[in-house]
Amino acid sequence: MTSVFIQMLYGFRYSVSFVSLGMFLVSMLIIYIVDGIGGLEGVTEFMKMMPDGIKAMFKLDEGLSSVTGFIAVEYRDPGYFMIGLGFAIAIASGLVAREIENGTILMFGAMPIKRWRYLLSKIAALVLGLLVVVIAAGLGTYIGSLLTNTTSDIDFTVISLVLVNFLVLTLAVSGITAALSSKLSSGGRTVSIAAAIMAVMYFIDLLSSLLDLISNIDFLSLFHYYDPGAISNSGQLNLEHILVLLGITIITYGLALYVYNKRDITV
């Protein structure tokens, strides 16, 4: 349903604009940091100075002694996660739960549209919103490099692949949140649970390189499948990682549609 899709986009136009601006500015800031610490030489020095434990924790191996590598691993910065994934969680939580909480579902649920089609239209708008946010991050990197004359130091193919990996990560996060949103009737609860799941996953991934016990369950974390450093090293996407994240996205969105189709709507 085009009307629902357009209305959903219109409804979160300000959120998309502000989040995109945030991603754009953070990406530009990273370029300015690279420039500030002395370009390629500075980045190499910086990497040498960093303790091995920290490098392992943030997946910054020795191969990252390039400007592109430095920028790529910065895409694992918690700031990016908070903005990008926070946006995915906030919007996905509104797909069903917040509509029930607000009571708007009684008005729009009375329209002659199949429930799954209504939700699918909203999901399509959300996916487009996430795409815009990720493109804004890439644009920030590119424009930042133009302004600092570092364009030649950066491999934008690698940066694009990192952003593709980041996009499918945000999709998987939004899918999990959408499934929760379809089941729950409170937007706040949906956000809390989704954020808690992501925090646990983030720390599993963060500590997996330091603790053997956790390294065995690292595969359970979505962040395990997001590795900009490896993309920078190999110059290509890890297809297995992409497929896992896309698989989670499809399954969780499918679950969201199924649950919403079957559930009682009690406002």
């Binding site: 209305q7 607000n102 708007t104 729009f108 649920g109 009375a110 002659p112 549209i113 009682d264 709507i265």
Partner: protein, 312 residues
């Protein structure tokens, strides 16, 4: 939307058969049976938590019954919800639109979702009658007063002249003029063959507009019928001031003499007003006062006494 013009036929539009809904241990509906015929304005009465909104939400396909079934136009309200909604106009008890809509964009959006191209003529008429000028429609809906929000919700539900309208508390927050206008519009649609089911706490509204009424309590229907039918079997008091006192106490079936204070006698009458009037015509009386039994009295007697004595 083409309306079916089937006047004076008693085709059932809504049928509820042993409709039951449990929320865990809470029984919201306990085997509700109900039939709403085409072309009627049907009132659904009950106190808070009686099961009105649960019934309405089952009809709208928002919730699935635990047992029994609800059909609209002969189709299951849960399984055929999508198909049925194109024939229904709905106003929920809680009116929420979302913050991004103006009055105009909300009406356009809901019309689009219904597959209506352009502005329906009846929408223009309703906007005019309910005094919603273009300046008001340009404003964000969340800035509207509750009365204005109700008007917009009613217009979106009626603009396509649906065959069935389900209104949950439609007159709440409406001013008396808008209320009258709404009733006129409802009557107009009824004449064209539409059926209307409305729930309300405002008993005079139900009494004024509804031909048939169902009283629901604790998840089951207590009684159903017209106000006159509901009055049957209910006792009413009459006070008579005699010019000349009767020689003996009246012996009339259904009439009980309650008290005598000089020449002022009080009677209780059950279903035999005619017999009482015949008795009075044979006596010289100065004045009389007969208790008017309003829907409110019936409602209160049904709910306050915890009784099931209203039988049709």
């Amino acid at each position: 939307m083409i309306l079916l013009h089937v006047a004076n036929t008693m085709t059932a539009v809504i049928e509820l058969h042993s409709l039951t809904k449990d929320y865990g241990k809470v029984k919201a509906l306990r085997g509700v049976n109900l039939c709403v015929n085409q072309g009627t304005i049907f009132g659904f009465l009950g106190p808070n938590g009686a099961g009105k909104s649960t019934t309405i939400r089952i009809l709208m396909g928002f919730i699935k019954p635990t047992d029994g079934n609800a059909t609209i136009f002969g189709q299951d309200s849960w399984h055929k919800s999508y198909t049925l909604k194109s024939r229904i106009g709905f106003v929920p008890d809680t009116i929420r639109f979302g913050k991004s809509f103006t009055g105009r964009s909300f009406l356009e959006y809901t019309a689009q979702l219904r597959g209506i191209k352009g502005t329906p003529m009846f929408q223009k008429q309703l906007l005019d009658q309910l005094e919603m000028p273009e300046q008001v429609l340009k404003r964000k809906v969340h800035t509207y007063s509750s009365g204005m929000a109700k008007k917009i919700a009613l217009i979106q539900a009626m603009q396509h002249k649906p065959e069935l309208m389900i209104f949950d508390e439609p007159t709440e927050a409406l001013d008396p003029i808008s209320r009258k206008t709404l009733f006129t519009a409802m009557k107009e649609l009824q004449k064209e063959g539409s059926t209307i089911l409305m729930s309300s706490h405002i008993l005079p509204d139900i009494q004024e507009i509804c031909e048939t009424i169902a009283l629901i309590k604790n998840g089951s229907i207590q009684s159903e019928g017209s106000v006159d039918q509901l009055r049957q079997g209910k006792s009413r008091n009459m006070t008579v001031e005699f010019k000349t006192l009767p020689n003996s106490d009246p012996v009339i079936p259904g009439v009980t003499l309650l008290s005598k204070e000089g020449n002022i006698w009080s009677f209780n009458i059950v279903d035999n007003l005619k017999g009482m009037l015949q008795y009075l015509t044979s006596h010289n009386i100065v004045d009389l006062e007969y208790q008017k039994l309003s829907l409110e009295d019936l409602f209160l007697s049904a709910y306050e006494n915890n009784s099931k004595d209203i039988k049709i």
